[in-house]
């Protein structure tokens, strides 16, 4: 395994996503087809570029419908892209055959939100974890049981022998998520796509799972693409964060940088909206009106302009592109400089 020092300036990217576009066709009726009405598309991801450095945790944050899950799925090849490039460890995913992609999957694993939905109710925990090993390393089948027991101990399913033959319904929600984590880790991946991995867990269990994920990342030299709607939780695990709105990245930088100097009006609203667990520190900022619009016909220009309190004429006409306004801090807003002086 590569053991690179993870400093902020390293340009050793495990994943490079370039101008990624993913449109889903909207189902049309037979009549519409007859009159060959133009097909509508849900523009789930509409031109997104980012890199993930080896060993870092990149957060993708946004509200529902912002495209965060779709980006994750396309990045690891679970979903076909419409346009753009995804390069994993120097390999362009689109050049691979289905068989080659399947082999590469060993190195890219997923943790989903709902562990109960991710586990086969009729498969014992040990067998569930083992399955990936059997598929990707058939030649070492004799050792698989021991390898599974070993990884179970590492994720805190201890004693592993006790849990090996249990079934998902016999264990708690927190333990189920540990099984899912163990299953993802057992094939020795480089990249973990974690899609809201702790959103279902109770508050008192979340901290344990977060801590486990951080600890395993260091132990196994992992890189995480961490998808979340919860900016407060992101603070405890992400190194960098990309804020998404309606299929676009509006701001991206180190997490502490974005939280300390948010430059996009949407990011500012989003950060202000998160309730703070301190009754002495209640929010006074007004919230932007309305909700995230329909991604079939996104607003022209800046997609946030109909809700933006600072919107000017140009915002509805010209789309702002990501610009680097502070070191390593990119933002897509025509008037982001105004906040720059403020900070």
């Amino acid at each position: 395994m590569d053991n690179l020092i993870n400093d902020k300036n390293n340009n050793d990217y495990l994943v490079e996503v370039q101008n990624l576009i993913k449109w889903f066709p909207v189902q049309t009726t037979f009549i519409d087809q007859l009159f060959s009405k133009e097909r509508d598309f849900v523009r789930a991801v509409d031109g997104v570029s980012f890199n993930i450095r080896r060993g870092e945790v990149l957060g993708l944050a946004g509200e529902s419908g912002s495209g965060k899950t779709t980006i994750g799925r396309v990045t690891i090849g679970l979903e076909e892209k419409t346009k753009g490039n995804v390069i994993f460890d120097g390999i362009d995913l689109s050049t691979l055959s289905a068989e080659e992609l399947r082999k590469l999957r060993r190195r890219m694993q997923v943790i989903f939100q709902d562990p109960l939905a991710s586990l086969n109710p009729r498969m014992s925990l040990g067998d569930a974890i083992r399955q990936g090993l059997d598929i990707h390393y058939p030649e070492t089948a004799n050792n698989h049981r021991d390898m599974v027991l070993d990884i179970m101990e590492k994720v805190g399913l201890s004693p592993a022998k006790f849990f090996y033959n249990k079934f998902p319904h016999q264990i708690s929600g927190g333990q189920r998520q540990r099984v899912v984590i163990a299953r993802a880790l057992v094939t020795q991946p480089d990249l973990i796509l974690a899609d809201e991995p702790i959103a279902m867990a109770d508050v008192s269990v979340r901290a344990l799972l977060l801590d486990l994920m951080v600890q395993l990342k260091d132990e196994f030299n992992l890189t995480y693409l961490f998808i979340t709607h919860d900016l407060a939780t992101a603070k405890y695990i992400c190194d960098r964060i990309a804020i998404l709105y309606l299929g676009k990245i509006v701001e991206i930088s180190e997490l502490t940088e974005v939280y300390a100097y948010p430059l996009h009006p949407y990011t500012r609203a989003l950060l202000a909206a998160v309730p703070v667990p301190d009754p002495h520190d209640r929010r006074t900022e007004p919230m932007p009106k309305g909700e995230i619009p329909n991604p079939i016909n996104p607003p022209p220009g800046c997609r946030f302009h109909p809700r933006c309190p600072y919107a000017q004429e140009i915002c509805s006409q010209q789309e702002p592109f990501l610009r680097e306004l502070r070191i390593g801090h990119e933002v897509a807003c025509h008037f982001a400089e105004d906040f720059l002086t403020e900070s």
Binding site: E63, S64, S172, G173, G174, Q175, D202, V203, S204, V205, R206, A207, L208, L210, D211, H229, D230, L231, A232, T233, K235, Y236, T256, Y259, A260, A269, L270, L271, A272, A273, V274, P275, V276, P277, D278, P279, H280, D281, R282, R283, P286, M287, P288, K289, E291, I292
Partner: protein, 337 residues
């Protein structure tokens, strides 16, 4: 000092569910008051009985669940003695409820105006449709929904708007108490904040009380006046929201508050990792139900259940640390204001 008028008194309320694996005591002998015009936050993790409690306050527990004991006193009357007809009148007029998923609460083939008019006419059969409509319109506009949305069906509204319609349905009969059970949970964070602002607003303008049931403790910090913390079917701590956050007494509350992520960068504390998980209520732990996870557990904690002790006016906690007992070895902690 807390000379607040009391809207609802809950006394020794217990709810049981009969299951194949045995009886689940989802709410166990719980007593508390809801004041007039306050926002009371009821927080707890999944399975702690908070939703069951909310439903029990409207006597909406369905079999195999059952309210096994207790009184719910409103305006001097115990609603447990009400018959079906009285209960129907009580629900909606006195207390109404908003649930997590508005899509399952709203009728998909009924327009917004039809929902509200129906709610009015069910309770006030003499009200003419036009009058009900104009009342509905006035209310819906106050909740920030445009008038032309009155003719929309639920699926044509966004999640936030649907939830506002639910709030409107709760308000239209001038209920004194609105129980919001995870009402903001399925909403995005900005919309959640919008709705929180609105809930605060309607408390001001309509003078209603709100019981906000949620797992989101940060939201309660943002919104409530008082806070009740539930664990495994019990209220373990109650008090003013500031006081509880500043000086939590119950070990569970202490742990819980330290395990909530805080978005503020100047909060650099690591999250507290509470050992274990909430218990299965078919076989709750003996004594204090929190003792297996409690860092302060004493021998007595697994033996006897502590009572819910009012340690200061308006401040109560259910923990042996604060209660005397002859079998206790350690000193009892005196709580001072």
């Amino acid at each position: 000092m807390t000379e607040k008028e009391i809207l609802m008194q809950v006394r020794n309320l217990s709810v049981m569910y009969k299951t194949k694996l045995g009886e689940v005591s989802a709410v166990d002998n719980v007593s508390f008051d809801i004041h007039k015009g306050e926002i009371l936050g009821l927080v707890g993790e999944s399975g702690c009985g908070k939703s069951t409690m909310g439903k029990a306050l409207m006597r909406m527990i369905q079999p195999p669940g059952k309210i096994t004991s207790g009184q719910i006193i409103v305006d001097g009357e115990d609603i447990m003695t009400y018959d079906q007809k009285q209960m129907r009148d009580f629900r909606g007029r006195k207390v109404s409820m908003i649930f997590q998923d508005p899509m399952t609460s709203l009728n998909p083939v009924q327009r917004v105006d039809e929902h509200i008019v129906e709610a009015i006419q069910v309770h006030e059969s003499k009200t003419k449709t036009e009058e009900a409509l104009s009342r509905a319109e006035g209310l819906i506009q106050r909740l920030g929904i445009r008038k032309n949305r009155m003719k929309s069906y639920p699926h044509q509204l966004s999640g936030g708007m649907r939830q506002r319609v639910m709030v409107g349905l709760g308000l239209v009969l001038n209920a004194n108490l609105i129980i919001a059970d995870e009402a903001t949970t399925s909403l995005d964070v900005i919309v959640e904040a919008q709705l929180a602002d609105e809930l605060r607003d309607i408390r001001e303008t309509f003078g209603v009380s709100l019981l906000v049931i949620t797992h989101n403790i940060a939201l309660v910090a943002e919104l409530s006046d008082r806070l009740a913390v539930m664990y495994a079917g019990h209220i373990v701590e109650m008090g003013d929201v500031e006081t509880v956050f500043d000086t939590p007494l119950h070990p569970y509350t202490k742990g819980l508050l330290k395990s909530i992520p805080n978005i503020k960068l100047d909060d650099t504390e690591k999250l507290y990792k509470m050992p274990g998980e909430p218990p299965n209520l078919t076989h709750p732990p003996t004594g204090c139900r929190f003792h297996p996870r409690c860092p302060y557990a004493m021998p007595i904690c697994s033996k006897y259940e502590p009572y819910f002790k009012e340690v200061l006016p308006g401040r109560a906690v259910k923990c042996w640390l604060y209660i005397d007992h002859p079998e206790k070895e350690s000193e009892t902690i005196e709580v001072t204001a």
